[in-house]
Symmetry: D2
Subunit: 367 residues, 4 copies
């Protein structure tokens, strides 16, 4: 995990800028013999694609992914897979002002401070467009997981937008695909629609919380001490643009619990251990328990807003900026498929790591 690479054995290296000729991912360590084609990956990219409804940016990218290597006769060969998405809707002229001014909340100023220069077109490398490459790579991870861990199911959904939270007692995962917010609670989705209409008209934006769960993961994934499953999930989610927090299971609320409340009691079921609850989010000591793996992350509001904000120029002069252009009022919406992709990458990586170190062995309680 260094610079532009994520993962241990299943390793994803992404490249590309928002407004360069293309972006993509180099995916290494892919198990051989996995059925992959561009349509399968395109499916996931289309879910992330902007411009699908009025709540996401109107920038229209076909985001068509091409497989340039590592797949032969429809199957992975075990060698590095190159995924490329060409940038077709670049409109560089939209971004002329930001060449001279730093947009508050963006990485413009830090890239400049670090490197002494930056690609100012649409955020360059720091653009959320990089996440398209993750979603494509995640598609490969999902295909491998489908074959290696057939019962596994990864689902992401939005559980909070601004101050309004979805109602956990009303979660219905079959509802997630029915609304533009990936919300598991139809009533909240409707309320969010109204909230977001108002925000968009006012030129403002808002934050969100995404939850991603993995059902059907086996016990035993993860490794002490710095390759813990939750450690890698935290890194995976925190590396997504605009994410400011990551929670596992109870998350921050674990601080409020007592030991008796928090301990998930164990009894023996017909197929292995059963837990009275899942405060742990499916992970103990960095290793999966076989329960649902539950991760949440908070996405800050889109920093590009149609409100004037104070900033400085390249020359250090005080000025103001309004970030015109086509921006999502709640960038968290489009983070849902990205979070799913990162979950898939982490789980596949840890499955391979486990298989490498431990092989088919393991405790007799393993489910």
């Amino acid at each position: 995990m260094s610079m532009n690479t994520f993962g241990h054995l299943f390793r994803v290296t992404t490249w590309g800028e928002s407004h360069g000729p293309a972006l993509g991912a180099t995916v290494d360590g892919v198990p051989p013999g996995i059925e992959i084609n561009e349509e399968m990956l395109q499916h996931w990219l289309d879910l992330r694609k902007p411009g699908q409804n009025k709540y996401t940016t109107q920038r229209r990218e076909p985001d068509a992914v091409r497989i340039l290597s590592g797949v032969f006769d429809g199957k992975t060969t075990g060698t590095s897979v190159q995924l490329m998405i060409e940038n077709t809707d670049q409109r560089s002229k939209d971004y002329s002002e930001i060449a001279q001014k730093f947009r508050p909340g963006h990485a413009d100023i830090t890239y400049y401070q670090k490197y002494g220069l930056r690609d100012y077109r649409g955020g360059g490398r720091s653009s959320a467009r990089e996440t398209a490459a993750r979603v494509a790579a995640g598609g490969i991870a999902r295909a491998a997981l489908d074959q290696l861990l057939p019962g596994l199911k990864i689902t992401g959904y939005m559980v909070q937008m601004g101050h309004r939270k979805a109602d956990p007692t009303a979660y219905d995962l079959s509802e997630v695909a029915n609304n533009p917010f990936w919300c598991p609670d139809a009533a909240t989705a409707n309320a969010w629609a109204d909230d977001l209409d108002a925000l968009r008209k006012s030129g403002n934006s808002v934050g969100a919380v995404i939850e991603v769960t993995a059902q059907g993961a086996p016990a035993g994934l993860g490794a002490p001490i710095y390759g813990k499953l939750d450690t890698d999930l935290a890194a995976a989610m925190m590396s997504i643009n605009a994410v400011k927090a990551v929670e596992i299971g109870e998350g921050m609320a674990a601080a409020c619990l007592t030991g008796t409340e928090n301990a998930d009691e164990i009894t023996m079921g017909p197929d292995g251990p059963i837990y009275s609850s899942n405060h742990a989010g499916g992970i103990l000591g960095g290793i999966s328990t076989g329960q649902d793996i539950v991760v949440r992350f908070a996405v800050k509001p889109t920093s590009s807003i149609l409100k004037s904000r104070k900033t400085i120029t390249l020359d250090g002069e005080n000025t103001e900026i309004i970030t015109k252009g086509r921006h999502d009022p709640c960038v968290g919406i489009r983070a849902v498929p990205v979070g799913e992709a990162m979950m898939a990458c982490v789980l596949l990586d840890h499955y391979l790591l486990h298989r490498g170190q431990v092989g088919g062995a393991g405790g007799t309680l393993a489910t």
Copy 2:
């Protein structure tokens, strides 16, 4: 970052179990010429040491660190530094019951499910005792940072225990060392003392939130995309025992903000950019801004409690367990020096990475 190793250039590999002969850290990539001695490292270990007051476990370990390599004539040589802490207060007999039963909330069951066997003495490798090695390694990082970034100051403190939060308007960092909770708010510290007395008597435990800040860090630390400073901080903190969530700046609360509220406006000051606020926690696009770096993490309540909990045996039989022994009612207290150590390791690592890739160059706004 794989298995028992943390970091890119400044790399810490820890080893050792709770009740084996010793534990320690192998520290690689240390800059040469840094003044280090055992007393300097012992200072940090003593802060973490249990048994110092009634709120931490009465297990009495001297936790004396020895430097076995990499230091000559009082200075680091640039080669790998080995730090060893011998375990002297082992009392293995205290742990005989847990050889047969899995303690709920502990990693007993997952280690067993993963590896098919486990060192059951005091949690073995999953014990929080491993964090002593991190604190020792963090002492080296701090010494290097003192020399390389003399203005940098890292401070950790507890801001929440159970439902009771310290009052941010009353934070006084000079107060942190004056109470057994590392609390920056004396009034809250007193209230926590009462809370914890009651909990301890009842044999229960409680969670906590720790905040760690770094003041005086330069702009430009961190690297896109998967080696972001916040990504590595999230991994660092999540890898600490019992941590369930990590926040940067606003953290989960970023979800509630609008774009206008969240954007830290920029103006030009005499020595570089000045920000109107620090919702970002000092990091934009994964790179430090020069503001305070602010990280928080939640620690779950100690899972070892004097309350009977349902569990199963190695043979899959239902049973109950009371985890006797000497346990902290709020393990979060002792996590404070650990969080500081991890912050130090991450900042030094990113300083070296930056110096490696960029050298002395950088934007003219860099402070």
Copy 3:
């Protein structure tokens, strides 16, 4: 250094097959502000390009490299650089027979044994075409080195073909570009021309030895113990297709020397230490001395020959094969620019590593 990635801080990940749509390299850790353009990289690729004379394969690839990311306004931005070379002269039909038969000396059988399937078109991932990506990446390394270590000069040349060696007393590096063999000794080059004409007509091939030197490298590059400069050079060169041995300085001949013969004596010169000889090849204890760095590697004869060889089919039946097609009679010739590229990558990587760990410090004798 794992799977398809080479390097520590300056990291090159290559991808692509011989007869897929494209191949390339993802280059991470590039210092910012380095002037790069496609012409600069094309220069090095053209040197490696096949079909330039009768001694290299007549496959005609333009091998045009495109920069897809990481460069803006003609300078590197510090983010990952993607280099892509499209395959235009694929002629897949040439390779139909080898789908069913394993070519002796090739990786056909081992890829199949490892992965259970393989891309049989022209060797797929195991083709020497992969080295085009290395040469392109090496072009970036060279540009960075030109800026960071302006006195450094990397030169590769062929010193042996079959049993005929170039005469070291006649080496003239200015001669290297004057003959199709990169030979520093014009007389030997003429003899090789005759040797190779005969071999080519007979449908056979022959091995070679390449030497690569770096003049003007500073003292202090390299790191104990497993990141030694010679360790990384050995890995770099051995990873090139068909290489079977790597030597540093005296190489295998060091076995024949006595201690008095081997020790390069040291005296003080006007600008630093001067050595009486360079048996060490410029590296002591894994760290550069400031002398010329000297590496040699042996390349086996091209395995694709127009002679019938015994082999087996996918089904395990005995058969014979003649590898028709356009093949180099001495693949070692085209390995020269590849060896130079690997030297450049290793030196830049170690320069950045050194700068990261040690900064501008170092011993007073450093030159």
Copy 4:
């Protein structure tokens, strides 16, 4: 593979100086359930131990290895194993002169030039004593291989000392343990004894060539492109002190062969492919063929000799030095067990990597 760490999944990090309190290895990624005890590791260390006969240094170290972590009830637990060897025979006073003078052929000057300071006691970190830690770690790798690949047999032996080579037609591996040179040819061993007696009396030293073979390794170990089995073997052997060259199979002699001579023809045998010869040294395209894996490396003559050599002081003054003390006239002898250990580490690492990526799958020809 960075700095003091070697390996991908099975990772060995060594630490310690020649004359510090101790040295050792932190071994990560060990499969769980492997039977290990100190006696098993001591067996291998005793083979390497100095002072066993008149041909190796008379420094007498018991080299007693302790296991400090990662093993419980006689089996590995899957967590990091710490191996420690205390230095008991330090005699630092022997080394007072070299604090001020650089020994030609040693790393004294390069460590100083790199780091600006050095541990001058007995070479510090650059001492061949570091290899004791490798041998101990190799003992763990061997134990794991015994369990995972029961038919595998690793044997190292010396095949050349000075100009005198063992006779390949007379190799008898059962002879290796019968002479102090690990020579597979008894007649040559006798001649070497005379050679070395003369050299030792004259205060000189000599180089050597070691060959290490692995019989019974399965096909399919290794990975393209930069994690090739031969790439990692080259790095492993080149990282050993005083090694100047590494050969696989034909090695440098491959340059002299024609394609027809070099191609190992394939026919189908009862249990898988059979090869007419093994010029490849058991590796094609970086992946094992199932034939014997054959590696050779050249060790330069001991640089510490009782002959006066020109050198400079720390202050840059010209002087001379005679390296008194207890030194091996042919350090290559003691490199034999080290080469075996590195072979074991590389093979285990690649076995785990293969199992991780590919699992139990593989081509039908796999043996």
